[in-house]
């Protein structure tokens, strides 16, 4: 059993204060370590999630972060899996403990996705997130590929622009109660539907922003946990990872995230629970429609569109999705997003999240998930409340 004894996020936003990714990493790590009750000397491995050296201009970022965090001597590893990098880093940390090679692992996710490069450079770089030799030769942007996938999904399910607006408004509204969120907003549908068209049907406000920031977890084997954390710390119950064909058109159903479905089933089976046991989830909402496509793939409800329209995924609904605001509201420093999702779930399960977003009733299980490409490399993590929760 692996416990989450420490969890922290910096604010996700566009930094204008001259601070760097190394500063944010230290801030997130220090706060997570303080929560854990451990010191730097107790950590025997550092796993760093960072999507691209083009953001940090630092190959082997784990080497410099180990020094900054006081972890020289610890094993270091950098994990990259596109937008799923953070979730894969969490998995790497958990697996290191389950293998017996480490007792206490720090996972740090970070990227200066907003402030390091201009928008044209960012757009070009993200184009390389997909198969350069196939979809990439069309020049299609990330938004265009997601738009085509959403259209394929909507053609089968009946999803509409109203549904995109519902998700957009929900996530940005949740973000209003998250003091670390990049885009806390109270959008009207008219405002959403009047924002500039990027790739139909996606408009500017249907897209997640690029952000700066970091998140950190302190993972620990049960036998090595500090006594004060052993019985209350949330635990990692299930992991699932898998992949799909990278080319959108190569998939038999381009609107459906097949790999994510398979991965969720693996994670839930490892946890020994079913999708209906999940009390809340942090879902990869790079675009509004991608959230609904993810919910469908995860099998959280029988009819995702009906559930969305009935408010099931709202902050007061039966299964809140992206209480943090998600990528759309909280923001997306790419390497940090997956780590931040897991940290958010851990804090919620322990009852330590932002007060206006913390559900009143005790929580049993939460799910965090993200992906690289267009749900090409997928990772799902299932967390459970601590033994005495």
């Amino acid at each position: 059993m692996v416990l989450v004894i420490g969890a922290a996020l910096t604010p996700f936003n566009r930094r204008r204060d001259g601070s760097s990714f190394r500063d944010w990493s230290l801030q997130a790590f220090t706060n997570a370590l303080r929560m854990s009750g451990l010191g730097p000397g107790d950590i025997d491995a550092l796993i760093v999630s960072s999507e691209s050296d083009f953001f940090t201009l630092q190959l082997n970022p784990a080497s410099v972060l180990a020094q900054d965090l006081g972890l020289v001597g610890a094993a270091t590893l950098r994990v990259e899996g596109g937008g799923g990098s953070g979730q894969f880093a969490v998995h790497a940390g958990v697996e290191r403990i389950l293998s017996g090679r480490s007792k206490r692992v720090a996972v740090v996710g970070v990227d200066p996705s907003a402030s390091a490069l201009g928008s044209d450079s960012i757009r070009e770089l993200y184009g390389y997130s997909f198969d350069f030799w196939t979809d990439g030769l069309s020049g299609a942007t990330s938004t265009a590929l997601y738009a085509l996938s959403w259209q394929a999904f909507a053609a089968v399910t009946g999803g509409s622009e109203e549904d995109l607006a519902l998700i957009t408004a929900k996530n940005r509204r949740n973000a209003q109660h998250n003091p670390g969120a990049h885009l806390p907003r109270d959008h009207s549908f008219a405002e959403i539907n009047a924002s500039p068209l990027i790739a139909s049907p996606y408009r500017r406000l249907h897209c997640s922003p690029l952000s700066d920031g970091a998140a950190a977890l302190i993972l620990c084997s049960e036998d090595a946990a500090p006594e004060a954390r052993k019985h209350v710390a949330p635990r990692i119950m299930g992991l699932g990872a898998g992949s799909d064909l990278p080319g959108l058109g190569h998939r038999s159903a381009p609107g459906f995230f097949r790999a994510k479905s398979n991965v969720a089933a693996r994670a839930l089976a490892m946890a020994g629970i079913s999708a209906s046991d999940i009390a809340l989830a942090e879902v990869y909402d790079a675009y509004a429609g991608a959230e609904l496509q993810a919910i469908a793939a995860l099998g959280l409800v029988d009819d995702p569109l009906a559930a969305l329209r009935d408010g099931v995924f709202g902050a007061d609904g039966a299964c809140p999705i992206n209480l943090s605001g998600g990528l759309m509201g909280q923001g997306a420093p790419v390497g940090a997003t997956g780590v931040g999702q897991a940290a958010t779930c851990a804090l919620l399960l322990e009852g330590r999240y932002h007060p206006d977003l913390q559900p009143k009733a005790p929580l049993g299980y939460a799910l965090a998930e993200s992906h690289g490409g267009l749900a090409t490399t997928c990772a799902v993590t299932v967390l459970g409340a601590g033994a005495n929760a």
Partner: protein
Amino acid sequence: MKRRLTLEYELAEGWLSPWIEGLRKGQAVASHCSACHSSRFPPLRTCPNCRAQSDTWISLSGRAEVLFRTSGADGDFVLAQFEGAEGSTVLRADHLPIGAEHGRLRASIGGPPSLQLETDDTR
């Protein structure tokens, strides 16, 4: 601190050379799996149906049916189904009129190889 990074790549085409050469000429060259007789455009090295290695190349007509289309500030793109190929293909559609239901592969004249669909005058 400002820092400019300028990189110039020379990318080897490897096993995809026939596909890339076809794009330059406007010819739709698909990978073909002899084991299960499926063809893929864009090509796939391992057949997703039977996991055999695609072992030959075939030429398609180059005509495609538009399945979905997206337009906006990021450009104009389609997901289209090529005659004779399984699956579909993402292509740029700057030279395909809005509302067109069919098109054909456009040659990458004077530029790097690219995937573009244009008006099909042969229909």
